[in-house]
């Protein structure tokens, strides 16, 4: 099958990029082990962000039945950041912020999955009939969450406000290593769950009526998919901050490369494309151009242009 060949090629490219990332310009002697460990940590972070962004976008587009939305455009990541701020604010006194980062992270992701499933489940559960209205709702929700987040942050602690603002720009070079073990476990869980659902996702992609006629429990599958999306977006937002349009590029490339819309192919292909793009981009910017913080800006810019292109071309399905 053509899709199998695409997957094998991508896996080979990913392997090459990973090897290059780990081994290029490695110093000898004492420093070697240290550099290797540092690179492995960063690599794991980029892999997790790539995989979770790719899979979350494909899942979300299937549930929302269109190809221009990403969970971030619909405000998933700003909801996560708002919730994070509020949780720190309310439980801060009770020692919530003193908990180990991993445990705190787990708590935040749990609340996020619950909130996002309820909120976006009601919004998308009946099947999206009016796509422009859905996009608009999402954009407004995103702005609402972001401003609420800034507001709460300012009220809480004006000194800390700078930190909040700092955190609302994505950066691929300052990944918090202490989050990695939990992030790895969560991403693995999300990916396995998505792959298990893949055949049902194919049916879900037909739309509500045909899916129900074929015996799919539509509402339940929508909620399950949104819960996985919320989980994966939380992971990538916690690791690198909000990235709005990256998923759009990944999903666009995925649909371009695969021939059939089967999720058993779409999901792994999107995960690998995203991982390759991030690692390669970071390699170029960090080691060739020496401007580490720049990649997120370029990706967002390219993704934003792609978004405009899709809208102008009227390809909103």
């Amino acid at each position: 099958m053509a899709d199998r060949r695409v997957m094998l090629c991508l896996a080979a490219v990913l392997g090459l990029v990973v090897a290059f990332w780990m081994l290029q310009g490695l110093p000898s002697g004492q420093a070697r082990a240290f550099v290797l460990k540092l690179r492995a940590e960063r690599l794991l972070g980029l892999l997790l962000v790539g995989i979770s962004t790719g899979i979350a976008t494909i899942l979300f587009q299937t549930v929302a039945a269109n190809r221009v939305l990403t969970p971030q455009i619909m405000g998933f990541d700003s909801l996560y950041m708002l919730m994070q701020t509020i949780m720190v604010a309310t439980f801060g006194i009770a020692g919530f912020s003193a908990l180990p980062t991993g445990v705190k992270f787990l708590g935040e992701v749990g609340v996020m999955v619950l909130l996002a499933s309820i909120l976006f489940g009601t919004l998308l559960g009946k099947g999206v009939r009016d796509i422009p209205r859905t996009i608009l709702t999402g954009v407004i929700l995103g702005v609402l969450f972001r401003s609420l987040n800034a507001f709460v942050g300012r009220v809480l602690d004006p000194n800390e406000y700078a930190v909040v603002q700092q955190a609302s720009f994505a950066s691929f070079s300052k990944i918090d290593a202490s989050l990695l073990p939990v992030a790895l476990a969560l991403t693995a869980g999300g990916v396995v769950a998505a792959l298990c659902l893949s055949s049902r996702l194919d049916v879900l992609g037909l739309g509500r009526d045909p899916a129900i006629s074929l015996g799919l429990r539509h509402q339940r599958e929508v909620l399950a998919s949104l819960a996985i999306v919320a989980l994966l977006v939380s992971v990538s937002t916690a690791l690198v901050g909000p990235i709005t349009f990256f998923g759009l590029i990944v999903a666009g490339l995925t649909h371009g490369l695969t021939r059939s819309p089967r999720h058993a192919a779409l999901l792994p292909v999107s995960a690998m494309i995203a991982a390759v793009t991030l690692i390669l981009g970071q390699l170029v910017f960090e080691r060739v151009l020496g401007q580490a913080a720049f990649l997120s800006v370029v990706i967002e810019f390219a993704g934003g242009l792609f978004f405009l292109f899709l809208l102008i071309r009227g390809r909103i399905r």
């Binding site: 074929l214 015996g215 429990r217 819309p261």
Partner: protein, 252 residues
Amino acid sequence: MIRISDLSYRIGKATILRDISTELPKGALTALIGPNGAGKSTLLRLIGRLEPLQTGSVSLDGADLASTRTEDLALRMAVLGQQTAIASRLRLRELVGFGRWPHHRGRPCAKDSAIVDEALAGFALGDLADRFIDEISGGQAQRAYLAMTVAQDTDWLLLDEPLNNLDMAHARALMCRLAELVRGSGKSVVTVIHEVNYAAAWADHVVAMKDGRIVAQGTPHEVLTSETLSMLYDTPVTVGTHQDRPLILHHV
């Protein structure tokens, strides 16, 4: 047999269906007719569990709709709604292949692809099998959805205005195919039909609806009379006969 008891349905304050109780015979082609907005689609969608029941109950060959697993229902009835728009970019063969999903749930075998080929051929889609559904005409897409519904291979087929977008030849071919499914393979078909002459020519049982109520039901000869149709559509209608079937002259 589909048994409908005391079925009512409202959207907001509007009552769409009022106290409908009836039985739709098994092994027959049933036509649902009535003016626009009579509630035909709503009734069909409720039977097909596309909308949740509010009051009343529906049973399908003795199985209560509310308490039977939806996976099992998909093996007994297939529903084709009035407006189908498929979001995924699929080839025709893949689309029709989804009709087999309730049987294999993701792991198709040789028998499934044989049935898909048969369904494609049955709706004269063999040549288009590798085309994308957004690259064919409305009538061809309609036939593809029908092929998918037939490939589901269920005892019951519920169709909402399947003749939409079909030209004369394909419309007749479809009715012929449905009649053949009923008489040859023992299936039961319930279909909403806009053009009463198709009901007159092919149906075994006709149910006429108006304002959310059933106003007449029975054989075509019993229901499709000048009196009933004139009342149903609020317009004078003449009924003649052609080959022992009613022939409705409503266009002159």
